[in-house]
Symmetry: D2
Subunit: 397 residues, 4 copies
């Protein structure tokens, strides 16, 4: 965790200097015009990042995890039925949150490493003639397995079943990094956080809420106060906030949105693909295996990788941290010990990525894994050399 | 809101450079030892600030307002009865939060400007032979009226009534600024935030929870997930966090606790009294009146002041902001338009305080109020001159 | 010296957050295009601040004091004669520098508090039929006495004497704060620093050099290497630097020039006059006297003020620093002990200025001076109230 | 030059966050006790870094290059004879500076890539029976060639010749990175800068001056004012400064000295050797050649490397900067185009170093050089793996 080594956890990410400076703003009166003048355009400029025109964007002093709770507490009532697939730790936790709030959750259990089970979802919805299911929950990017969900496919399944359920998507570790289309995919609530694709400090849940979800909000009776949509929206309309806002993060988000717009979202996605693909080439060259079961499932923000037989993933990650000062992700949930993860989202350059690959190679050899040092690096170098565009310009500040 | 003019709102406060620098730490892996090594002592060192040995301290990515919700959702069940006095906007809001969570609230309505009604509380508790009331809610410092509650008196009343209810205290705008004694006063849940006495950015709710409240937590059935005590405490015990922590604020809190300890809490309280007393002398000299109805009620963190006849408090505050670049608080709730507020908590020096008084004098004259410029300043200067100790050393660096 | 109290020394000045952030840029390769792309426009954009089209602007890692040496070492030869008036500490020091470099200095000694002696300069030049005098040295703003020199008058005197000497002006504590017109006044070398009107950290001498002075440079034989014009100009022409540049200060200067341009130089000068005039009203109301002997001599960046009989200026300044955490300037040179100085240049607002006045009032009373607290503040408030434009907008960041 | 990619130029170096924060101090009154209390210990704590007990340490607002001039202008007189070897660009420039100041320089011209010519120095001194030579000038680390001079050997040669000349050493790119022993090696003036081993921003020359050199200063007649030893030492003795000091850099130096002391100088040197040795292993594995002609000459702060036939060093460096956002050094002086340089001093970790090596490999291949990607990285990984101690701890925070 030297301040000079990048971190390769799937969030919080490395923060560019420009954003660090943007978050250094002094406290000011959040009831002043100065606050409103920054805050209102931020809410507006969040919309293209979500791929929405119609949705209302909201910011809470919380995290992505808290955002799940904001989503359900505002739009559902005790005893409501929701449908969710469990294919990793974060989809599992969201299900748990639903249960704690007294929702009935129809869980589709999947193999970790598989994607979202579109056919099963369609089948379940089709079976639900009474339309008891109020919402379908999808984790767009399963940080535990490095798997990306086909949200468009889920939408198609819902349409095929002619089911009126709302679609909730956890976009915490995908938004502003991978293609996301709220309106096109018919998403009703999308949940993100400040410390992933926005490259900021942790401390904000960022949501987009469709008109349909706002309509549902009116009759939803789960308890909420701090998280209440109505209080927030009412205050926001005049540039205000229902309590003390996370001022520095909002100013940081202003700068983050500027950076994303300057680069262009398509270029941001392409850059993330490029970074990720270099990592995958390296992994393959080293003879290691991804948890994701098919290439169309590969996440561009995190790769979850099986450690070789005899190597403990936790020891590997601890060793890299202690000896080389570099942070990788441990395996989560049932993959703990069996995998390690390389986060490759947010502010990363080719040289940074190569430092991560060179370091994990050393750490693997230190753990007794028989691999040829430099092999993975070379595969990534070869790929990056042939795909030079885009990745360096972006992060200068 | 020039970055060179102090703000005189009762939070967020001015942030000393030392704390601004402390919050500039880069993102690091919150599952690493480096995080635990900072975080665990922070939880421990919060205890003396709350005046507790026995309580468990907790930090949530939220605000003080969110902290109220954390308090009740973890310790109460739907339909539980609580007793609360309403003597300002913030006590009112906490009552509202309770109602939204399905609690029955016995409200004692008071005159705004009065303190917490100890006799009525004792009477209400005495009447409650069945001990249905699970908790008494007290706002230690009513930011809307500039009134401090006599929490020790409430505890005495509860004891006199031999009532087993828990005592919850909103210490958001008092902790680390005014005398606070959790254990001595028999408080069960105390709620604070990062952006007041701790002088940091907004974004954290900081709580202390008594063993009795933790016991109550076990059987409390209000829904919670993100806010859950058990998840938080379990993770904290090994230096972990149940989701992404507000890292920069935690590092800032480390430095804030160091600053408070270096000055000494008694000196911190004395300094706040001194700052506040100078303001009160100025207010009196200017012929203005405080909302607080008696001197023993005076808050040392905020003064709520009636504007003279014919002067609109909101226009006054807007004018001071636009013309002089300085932020004061508007009147809140039923006092809106009729008062303005001077926050005097956190990082303030005598010269800063005098700049605020000189500025509000000009703004008042600009509004047509007939007062002699310099009169209030002179009264404050006279007081501060005769009470020189303490206030400058603290905030250097 | 609390980080929250402004400083009232005539430089270094308070630094706005925007400039503090601008100076936080990480080290980069000064031989890279990125450096050139920032540096070259900075040199260009300095010109309007000096009021020049024709001059070449230069930046040295040094201070204003070092800038004097850069000026003479590049344009004069051993034994050259220069004419200079001594009316304060800084004019005295520049004379001393000339002597150390083997120049012959014709010194006109003046009363401290008087301005530049135009008639004597004209007389001296007229007497110099052989045109031995190579340069006339003028300190535009005598920081020791708070006196502004009439540079246009000096130019007129030189013209009246039909003397070909060059005109060198020390603009260290005036540039970017008070009206300065290099071309119109026929100045050949103007010397400034980064920590005054530019509001940055100390560490740069900033010069503007006329074509005539560059011509003189070719035959000037005083030794120089680090300070050499030719090396610097040659490197600058392609965006380079002859050695490692003060990178962070150059990036800070970029932002400072932007701020000055956004406000407009005329507005900057008007703001400085306003700040200064409020101080002078306060001084008068307190019954104190300025060192400057006539109102047309008043500096808008610093006021030098006699302490009352029986009060020691050094003790006064030390007391204000120790007890109130606020820095004023001590009396310099022969005025040491007899005066104190209030700097009012750079990033200051009306509230900041009033905090300074309120503080010095208290400090004076603490020293036993019999004055009515608030009197000076009231005079300044009255003046500032009636002249509200301009001063707050500027420094927001 | 992304703010996320390290720079690999031999200064300015990467700056750890701890030092960036330390340089963020606001302007304060340099005539105050607060300044003196920081400044005086800094001067004292510089001594162990220079390896001296007897010398006086001095700080000028300048750069290392300016420091050469400070050294000679204070201790020599016009026409004095000095002896210097020219074996790279920086030794050449120092000779040029001497000539500009009217010194007679006996130059020993060497092959670039060779070290300091001890035998020739001894011979020259032995020939100088009249002891006309007042000083011997040695560049400890030739940044252009990556060669370290044997200063102890020069001292031995001087002793063998029984010559009383003073010994001046340019330690700009070696101090606080490679072993340096001012007293043991009998050095009279040592010159360094802030932006190399101290890892700060550029803007300070840092010198250590022996009692013998101070004695010489008394009769030395080269002109100086800003640079004068006597003015500086007199002011420093009471914690003062003869003009406005580079405040932020001095506070940064305080933190830098703390970091160096916490790690221990021996560990700092060992770390630099380790970083450098990894680079050299990579260079060798890639079939490239160092400019340094023998292994005992290898610099631990910079490696100067011949580009392969047909590859232009300047294009290579420009390409790495433009395509990969990473800065390497170009060839200097007569090596321009024929070499590139990898700086490896200051704040660097193993992962950072590997990112530099991986990047230069890609850039070389992009230039058409036929090498196997990953080869150099692998050699460095192998070396670093086997030498894990020390390098990560240092740079945290």
């Amino acid at each position: 965790m030297s301040d000079q080594n990048p971190i390769f956890i799937p969030g919080p990410t490395n923060t560019p200097d420009r954003l660090r400076r943007a978050m250094q703003v002094q406290n000011l009166d959040h009831r002043s015009r100065a606050f409103a003048e920054t805050f209102m355009p931020v809410l507006q400029d969040l919309k293209p990042v979500f791929g929405t025109v119609d949705a209302t964007t909201l910011i809470y002093p919380s995290t992505g995890t808290g955002g799940w709770e904001v989503a359900i507490a505002n739009t559902l009532s005790p005893g409501d039925r929701v449908l969710a697939a469990r294919y990793g730790l974060f989809s599992d936790r969201w299900i748990d949150t639903c249960k704690r709030f007294g929702l009935r959750v129809d869980v589709i259990d999947c193999v970790w490493g598989d994607g979202v089970p579109i056919a099963e979802i369609e089948a379940a919805l089709t079976r639900d003639k009474a339309h008891e299911i109020k919402a379908v929950l999808v984790t767009h990017n399963e940080t535990a397995t490095g798997v990306r969900a086909d949200v468009a496919g889920v939408r198609a399944a819902m349409d095929a079943a002619s089911h009126p359920a709302m679609l909730y998507v956890d976009a915490v570790s995908s938004l502003a990094s991978m293609d996301f289309r709220m309106d096109e995919w018919g998403i009703d609530v999308a949940v993100a956080g400040s410390q992933k694709g926005f490259m900021l400090n942790a401390g904000m849940a960022v949501l987009a809420v469709s008109p349909k979800a706002l309509e549902a909000h009116r009759s939803a009776t789960l308890p909420r106060a701090f998280n209440d949509f109505t209080d927030m929206i009412t205050a926001n309309q005049s540039g205000g906030y229902p309590y003390t806002p996370p001022l520095q993060l909002i100013f940081g988000l202003r700068a983050s949105l500027d950076m994303l717009a300057e680069e262009g979202l398509e270029a941001v996605y392409a850059r993330h693909f490029k970074m990720a693909e270099g990592v995958r080439r390296a992994i393959t060259a080293l003879g290691l295996n991804l948890v994701a079961n098919a290439s169309h499932l590969y996440s561009d923000t995190v790769s979850s990788i099986y450690v070789p037989e005899g190597c403990d993933g936790n020891r590997l990650v601890a060793h890299a941290s202690e000896v080389y000062g570099m942070s990788f992700g441990v395996g989560l949930g049932k993959l703990n010990g069996k995998t390690f993860r390389i986060g490759h989202l947010g502010s990363l350059t080719v040289p940074m990525m190569l430092s991560g690959l060179a370091t994990i190679e050393m750490a693997l050899v230190d753990m007794g894994v028989g691999l040829q040092l430099g092999t993975g690096v070379a595969a990534a170098q070869d790929y990056y050399r042939s795909n030079q565009a885009g990745a360096t310009k972006y992060l200068a500040a």
